[in-house]
C-alpha cells in the first residue's frame, strides 16, 4: 500500500517549496504480545497472561518518564507517532525512552502505527497535527483492543481530558496517570507522578487561604509567535542562559545577534529560566545596566554566600563575572558598558533531575498525608524546587534526586517531584554517589554483554600473537615503568638503550588496549560512553572492566604483555633522528614508583643497567624540556592535593600538596613526545578524521583578571604570545619566595582547558596547543583510562596498515559527536575529582581546626578571597559580618580594600594568617569557614 504525503516547506531563502514523500503502509507489523496467535512473536516482549497492555500518549512520556522507568510500570506500547513527538520535544527523554524500549529487563514495545495499514491515519482538513496524532493514538489503541479481542485489557493512559473523553466515547478504556497508579496500590509510586500544573494551582489555592493575596511574582512569558517576531526584528536576542556557578543570581546569555554577552541580574530578570535553557532576552534600558560591583553586595544574595573550594585549574572552573570590566572606577558609577537584560521567554527548557536535599523543616502535624517541602540542589545554579511528598519523614536528612516539572509565574519556586533517594546526608558513600550523579558519571557495574567481550581469564600471551608479522618481539629489551605508588592500571612503559653510534634508542610502550577492545562491540560502546576513568580521592570508576585495566592490559613487571610502541633514535643532544611505530610484545623488568625512580637516579652508588637507563632518559628529558620551554611552552602551576586515606575508615589522615619530582617530569616529557609523534603520523594519513587535542590561545579578555592584579603591583606581563608570557612569568620574581608560583597559579586559571576535536572540523592553524607550544597534539599514552587514546590507537594502527579504519571515522558528524562526548566526560571527570577532594577537605578539617598562612587573590567589597597554598584551596574571608553595612572601601586600581577612616588595608597577593574550621550553621550541613586571625 502506498500513501503519498505532501507538505509545504519554507526554504531558507523564504521560498515556499512543496515537498512530496512516499509513505508505505505494510501488513507485516506485529503487535508484540507474546501470546498473540496471529502475529509473528519472534520479537514479542509484551505481556504474560492476564496483564493489562498500556498505551501511553506523548505527554505521559514527556512528563512521567521517571515513573515509567520504575519497574512497576510494564507492558507498555510505545507508538511510533509518540516516539517521534517525544524526539522532537525533548531529546534526553527520547534517549531514556529508547533505552527502556531496548532493555531486555523491561517490557516496552514500539508499535510502528504510522506504517501499519490499519492504523495509519491521514490528517483531515481543518485538523491540527496535535489532534491528528491524538486520533492516531486512539486508532492504534482501538486496533490493539480488537486485535487482542478480550485476551487482555488494553488501557490508554492520557492526562489530556479531551483525548480521554473521546477515547471513552469510542469504546476504549482510558485513565489518567494518577488514577492508574493509584489502582496499582503502591503508595511510593505516587511520589513519582508529576501533578499536572492545572491541578497544582488548585492545590496551592487550598494551601493559600486568601487567593487574592496571590499575585504574579514573575512576569508572564511572551507567546512564541511574538518571540519569533521579536527575534526576527532584533528586539529580542536568543541564546543559552548560563548561571554563574558562584553567584546564582547572575547569569549570562551569549547572544550572536549583538555579539556580546548579556548579563541577567537577579531571579526576577532571569524570569524562571534555568541554567542551560535557550532563552529570549530583551535588553534593559541603558540606565539600568547595573554596576556589577554594587550588585555583588545588594540584591537577593542575602541568604547565599560563597563557599570554600579548590583552586580552579583553568578558566572554566574559575568564578567569573565577579570582576568588573576594565573601566576606570570613576566612570563605573554612572554607566557600565556591559549590556544587561531580562528573560522574556524560554525557547527550550533544559530541565533535568537534580541532586540535593530538602530544606530542614518540622514535620507537619498530620502524619502520613501529603506534605510540601523545598528542595535545595547541590548545584547552586539551580533554584529551590517545591515538591509534594507522602513520605516526608523518610526524605528529611537524605540526599535525594528531584526532577522539575513546571514553574508558573505565580510561584516563587518551580515545582517538581521526587525521583529517588541516594542515602543519608553526610554519609561518605552517599556524598560520593552525589558527586557521581551530579557529574553524570556512570558508576554502574559493567553489564553481562560488556563482560562477555573480555578474553577468557587467565590471559596469556598466545603463540599467534608472536607469529603476527605486525607484532615485534621486544621481550629481550629492558623495559620498565614509572608510575605513582600503588598504581595498578599501568598503561605506559619505557626503554632506553645505547646504540653503537653513540645515539640512544628510546621506546615508549603503551598498553595495546585495542587488541582487546574491538570497534562496535558492547565493550567498545560502553567505553566510548564513559569516555574516561574517574578518579575520586578513595575510589576509581573505570572506563574498562577490571580484568583489562588491572591485568590483561596493565604493563606489570615480569609478565609478557602486548603493547603499541613508539621507538625513536635520539642523539645525546636529544634530537630525534628517526621514529618508528609498531605493535609489540614486551616484558617489563620493573614497575617503579616515582619515588623509587628518583631515589635510584639520585643514589650515585648505583651503577646497574636499569639505573643507567633512567639517568640517560633523564638527561635527554631535561634537554627536551628545556627546548620545549624555549619554544614557549608554559610551565603553569597547579596545586594538586594529595590525601592520605585511612584504609579502614576511608577518612583522610593527612593532606598536602602533591610533590612533583624530576622523575615525574622525565616520564611526562617522553609521553608528550610520543603523543606529538603519533599526532603527526595520524594527521598525515587521515587529514580529515584524526582525533587531536588543541588548546586555544587565551584571549585578552580572559587574561584580564591576571593583568589587573599584576598591574596593581607594578608588574608588567607580556601576553602577546605564549612564548612572551612564559618569559615574563619567568621574570616575575618578588621578595616573597612563593610569589612566582602564585602568579603562575593565577595565570593557569585564566586559560581554558584543552579540548579534543576532529581534524576535519577546523583549519590547521587552529590545531595549535598553546600550553605545550606544539602545533599538533593528541592523546596516545593512556588508552586504559581515556577513550580518546583508544581512538588514536585505532587511527595509528590504520595508518600503519595493521588494521582497517572502523566506520565511525568515515562519518565526520559521528566523530565530532564522539569528541564532544569525550570533552564532556573529561570535564565532568575533573569536576568530580575536584568535588571529591573538596568533600574530603571538609571531612579532614572537621576534626582539625587549623591556623595557616594564605594569600589574598581577589578583593571584594566585604572582604577578600584567599588562597591557601598548603591545602590548595581558596575561599572567602569576610571583613564584615553578614547583614552589616560595609565600611570598607575598594580601590580597584590598586586592588586594595581599606577600612574607612583608618589606615588598615589589605591588598592583593598579600600574605595573611587565617584560621580554618568546619562549622555547622545548619544541622548536617557542615562547611569550612576561613577567618582572619
Amino acid at each position: 500500500m502506498l500513501q503519498s504525503k505532501s507538505f509545504m516547506k519554507m526554504t531558507r531563502h523564504g521560498r515556499a517549496v512543496k515537498v512530496v514523500r512516499e509513505h508505505y503502509l505494510r501488513d507485516d507489523i506485529y503487535c508484540g504480545v507474546q501470546y498473540c496467535k496471529v502475529c509473528d512473536t519472534k520479537d514479542a516482549r509484551l505481556g504474560s497472561s492476564e496483564s493489562t497492555i498500556l498505551v501511553v500518549d506523548t505527554n505521559v512520556i514527556l512528563h512521567q518518564i521517571d515513573l515509567l522507568e520504575n519497574p512497576a510500570m510494564d507492558d507498555v506500547v510505545v507508538l511510533d507517532v509518540v516516539m517521534e513527538e517525544v524526539k522532537n520535544k525533548n531529546l534526553s527523554v527520547y534517549n531514556r525512552l529508547k533505552a527502556l524500549c531496548t532493555s531486555s529487563q523491561r517490557k516496552f514495545f514500539i508499535f510502528y502505527n504510522e506504517y501499519h495499514k490499519d492504523t495509519y491515519v491521514k490528517q483531515m482538513v481543518g485538523e491540527t497535527s496535535n489532534d491528528r496524532n491524538d486520533r492516531a493514538i486512539r486508532v492504534a489503541t482501538q486496533w490493539y483492543q480488537n486485535h487482542l479481542a478480550g485476551s487482555s485489557r488494553v488501557l490508554l493512559i492520557t492526562n489530556d481530558r479531551e483525548n480521554k473523553r473521546k477515547a471513552i466515547e469510542e469504546g476504549l478504556s482510558a485513565e489518567t496517570v494518577e488514577s492508574y497508579v493509584k489502582s496499582l496500590g503502591q503508595p511510593g509510586l505516587l511520589d513519582l507522578v508529576v501533578v499536572s500544573s492545572s491541578e497544582d494551582v488548585n492545590v496551592m489555592e487550598v494551601e493559600e487561604t486568601r487567593p487574592s493575596k496571590r499575585k504574579a511574582i514573575y512576569s508572564e512569558h511572551k507567546p512564541m509567535s511574538e518571540i519569533t517576531h521579536g527575534l526576527h526584528r532584533g528586539i529580542y536576542h536568543q541564546g543559552k542562559l548560563r548561571v554563574n556557578r558562584y553567584n546564582p543570581f547572575e547569569a549570562y546569555v551569549g547572544s550572536e545577534s549583538i555579539g556580546d554577552e548579556i548579563i541577567i541580574y537577579g531571579r526576577s530578570n532571569m524570569n524562571r529560566a534555568f541554567d542551560g535553557d535557550i532563552v529570549a532576552v530583551e535588553l534593559l534600558p541603558q540606565d539600568q545596566w547595573h554596576d556589577v560591583k554594587k550588585l555583588s553586595i545588594e540584591d537577593e544574595g542575602k541568604d547565599e554566600e560563597e563557599g570554600v573550594h579548590l583552586v580552579p585549574g583553568s578558566a572554566d572552573d574559575a568564578p567569573r563575572g565577579t570582576v568588573p570590566s576594565a573601566v576606570p572606577s570613576e566612570t563605573m558609577n554612572s554607566t557600565s558598558c556591559r549590556p544587561s537584560g531580562k528573560v522574556i521567554g524560554i525557547i527550550k527548557r533544559n530541565w533535568q533531575s537534580y541532586c540535593g536535599s530538602l530544606e530542614p523543616m518540622s514535620m507537619p502535624a498530620g502524619d502520613g498525608g501529603v506534605a510540601y517541602a523545598l528542595f535545595i540542589s547541590k548545584d547552586r545554579r539551580i533554584p529551590k524546587i517545591r515538591i509534594q511528598t507522602r513520605q516526608l519523614g523518610n526524605l528529611l536528612n537524605k540526599r535525594i534526586i528531584v526532577a522539575v516539572d513546571s514553574w508558573d509565574c505565580l510561584s516563587r519556586y518551580p515545582s517538581g517531584h521526587y525521583v529517588r533517594t541516594i542515602g543519608n546526608i553526610g554519609d561518605k558513600k552517599t556524598e560520593d554517589e552525589v558527586i557521581l550523579i551530579e557529574n553524570d558519571i556512570n558508576s554502574r557495574p559493567f553489564s553481562m554483554q560488556v563482560l562477555a567481550c573480555l578474553p577468557p581469564l587467565p590471559w596469556n600471551l598466545s603463540p599467534e600473537d608472536l607469529m603476527n608479522p605486525n607484532r615485534v618481539d621486544l621481550r629481550h629489551v629492558r623495559v620498565f615503568s614509572v608510575d605513582p605508588p600503588g598504581c595498578t592500571d599501568i598503561d605506559d612503559a619505557l626503554h632506553c638503550t645505547s646504540l653503537s653510534n653513540g645515539n640512544f634508542e628510546v621506546g615508549v610502550h603503551i598498553a595495546d588496549v585495542t587488541n582487546f577492545v574491538h570497534p562496535e562491540t558492547p565493550l567498545d560502546k560502553e567505553a566510548s560512553q564513559r569516555g574516561t576513568s574517574v578518579y575520586l580521592v578513595d575510589r576509581r570508576i573505570d572506563m574498562l572492566p577490571k580484568p583489562l585495566t588491572e591485568d590483561i592490559c596493565s604493563l606489570r613487571s615480569d609478565v609478557e604483555r602486548l603493547a603499541f610502541s613508539v621507538i625513536w633514535e635520539i642523539t645525546p643532544q636529544a634530537e630525534i633522528t628517526s621514529t618508528r611505530y609498531t605493535k609489540s610484545v614486551i616484558k617489563s623488568c620493573a614497575a617503579l614508583s616515582y619515588v623509587e625512580a628518583q631515589a635510584r637516579m639520585d643514589d650515585s652508588r648505583l651503577m646497574d643497567p636499569l639505573t643507567t637507563d633512567l639517568r640517560n632518559l633523564n638527561s635527554l628529558a631535561k634537554i627536551m624540556r628545556q627546548r620545549r620551554i624555549e619554544r614557549g611552552a608554559l610551565t603553569l602551576a597547579s596545586a594538586e592535593v594529595k590525601f592520605q586515606i585511612d584504609t579502614e575508615t576511608h577518612d583522610p589522615l593527612d593532606i598536602g600538596i602533591y610533590q612533583i619530582r624530576e622523575a615525574n617530569q622525565m616520564i611526562e616529557e617522553f609521553m608528550l613526545a610520543a603523543n606529538i609523534s603519533v599526532a603527526e603520523k595520524i594527521l598525515k594519513h587521515f587529514p580529515l578524521c584524526s582525533l587531536l587535542r588543541r588548546h586555544p590561545s587565551p584571549t585578552k579578555d580572559m587574561l584580564e583578571p591576571l593583568l589587573r592584579i599584576t598591574a596593581s603591583i607594578g608588574l608588567d606581563l607580556d601576553v602577546s604570545s605564549s612564548k612572551a608570557l612564559a618569559d615574563s612569568l619567568d621574570h616575575a620574581v618578588g621578595e616573597d619566595p612563593y610569589f612566582n608560583k602564585l602568579i603562575r597559579i593565577l595565570a593557569t586559571r585564566c586559560m581554558t582547558q584543552a579540548v579534543y576535536f576532529c581534524s576535519g572540523d577546523l583549519s590547521p592553524q587552529e590545531f595549535h596547543h598553546y600550553g605545550l607550544a606544539a602545533p599538533l597534539y593528541t592523546h596516545f599514552t593512556s588508552p586504559i583510562r581515556r577513550y580518546a587514546d583508544v581512538i588514536v590507537h585505532r587511527l595509528l594502527a590504520a595508518a600503519l596498515g595493521i588494521s582497517k579504519l572502523p566506520p565511525v571515522f568515515l562519518d565526520r558528524n559521528q566523530l565530532t559527536s564522539v569528541s564532544d562526548n569525550l570533552n564532556y566526560r573529561h570535564r565532568n571527570a575533573q569536576m568530580a575529582s575536584r568535588a571529591s577532594v573538596e568533600l574530603n577537605t571538609v571531612i579532614y578539617f572537621r576534626k582539625r581546626p587549623t591556623d595557616t598562612e594564605a594569600r589574598i587573590v581577589k578583593i571584594r567589597a566585604n572582604g577578600f578571597i584567599v588562597f591557601v597554598p598548603k591545602f590548595g584551596i581558596e575561599g572567602p574571608v569576610y571583613l564584615v559580618k553578614r547583614g552589616e553595612k560595609s565600611d570598607w572601601l575598594v580601590d580597584e586600581a590598586n586592588q586594595r580594600v581599606t577600612k574607612a577612616g583608618s589606615g588598615v588595608n589589605y591588598r592583593v597577593l598579600q600574605a595573611v594568617k587565617i584560621h580554618m574550621e568546619v562549622v555547622e550553621h545548619q544541622p548536617n550541613r557542615p562547611k569550612l569557614e576561613l577567618t582572619l586571625i
Binding site: 520479537d43 516516539m83 514500539i110
Partner: protein, 241 residues
C-alpha cells in the same frame, strides 16, 4: 539524523532491503522507434530510442559498428525547487556519458555497422536514483525498438546510513551525505557494467552494499522481463495471431 528507526524501518516505511514501488511501461512516445517510461517511487523517467538509422554526421560514422549517442535532460519541474536548467550542463553531460557507456556495453553494435542509435532520456520527476531509473528506462526503450542486445542491463543504487546498508535511496536519504553505490548489471551474464560510488566506505561494508545493489538490479531485471513479456503478448494479441 535518524534514517533508520529502532526496529529497522526507514522513514518512508520501507525495510532496509526493500525497493520503492516500481512501475514500468513500454511505448511512451508514439513517434519514436522505441520508448518506455520507468518510475521508482516518485522518480519518473521517460526514454525514447531513435534508430538504428543512417548516420547524420558522416564524420562520426564507424565502419564496423553502430554509433550510439545519448542525451539526458531534466524537466524544469523535476525537482522540488523549480530551476531553469541550461542544456548540457556538466551534470547532464556526465550522466549522458554514463548512460551511453552502460547501454553501449550491452548493444550488439557490431551487427549494425555504419548506423546510428539515439537514446534520449527525460527526467520528469527526480526523487533519488535518477541515474538508475534512466538506465532502466533506456533498456526498456532499446528492447522496444528491437535493438539487439546481449542481455538486459538494469541498474539500482544502494547506500549506507546509520550503519545499515539501504537499498534504493530516495532523495531524502540520498541527501544525507552517506555513500551511494550505483550498480549496472547484466543480470543473465552476471556481469557488472557500471559501478559508481561517491564517498568513502570500508571495503567489507562496500562489499555488502554492492551486493545489495546487485540483488536490486536482479529484481528489476525480472520485473523488466515481465513487462516486456506482457507487452509482446499484447502486440501478439493485437496482430490477432
Amino acid at each position: 539524523m535518524e534514517y533508520v528507526k529502532l526496529s529497522g524501518f526507514r522513514l518512508d516505511g520501507r525495510r532496509p532491503t526493500e525497493m520503492r514501488h516500481i512501475h514500468a511501461e513500454v511505448g511512451a512516445v508514439a513517434n519514436a522507434d522505441g520508448s518506455a517510461s520507468f518510475e521508482m517511487g516518485n522518480t519518473k523517467v521517460i526514454a525514447a530510442v531513435y534508430g538504428p538509422k543512417e548516420v547524420e554526421n558522416k564524420g562520426q560514422q564507424i565502419g564496423n559498428k553502430a554509433l550510439v549517442r545519448c542525451e539526458y535532460s531534466m524537466a524544469n519541474f523535476s525537482t522540488g525547487d523549480r530551476a531553469r536548467r541550461p542544456k548540457g550542463d556538466r551534470r547532464s553531460t556526465e550522466l549522458s556519458l554514463v548512460i551511453r557507456q552502460t547501454m553501449e556495453a550491452c548493444i550488439l553494435t557490431h551487427l549494425m555497422p555504419r548506423s546510428q542509435i539515439d537514446i534520449y532520456v527525460q527526467v520528469l520527476q527526480a526523487d533519488g536514483g535518477t541515474r538508475s531509473a534512466c538506465i532502466n528506462a533506456a533498456t526498456l526503450a532499446l528492447a522496444d525498438a528491437g535493438i539487439p542486445m546481449c542481455d538486459l542491463v538494469t541498474s539500482c543504487a544502494a547506500g549506507y546510513l546509520n550503519s545499515t546498508p539501504l537499498l534504493d535511496l530516495n532523495y531524502l536519504e540520498d541527501s544525507a551525505g552517506g555513500p551511494d553505490v550505483t550498480v549496472g548489471l547484466l543480470s543473465k551474464l552476471d556481469k557488472v557494467t557500471l559501478l559508481q560510488m561517491d564517498a568513502k566506505l570500508p571495503l567489507d561494508i562496500f562489499e555488502n552494499v554492492m551486493q545489495l545493489a546487485i540483488e536490486g538490479c536482479k529484481a528489476i531485471a525480472n520485473l523488466i522481463r515481465q513487462v516486456l513479456l506482457e507487452n509482446t503478448k499484447k502486440l501478439e494479441y493485437l496482430r490477432g495471431t
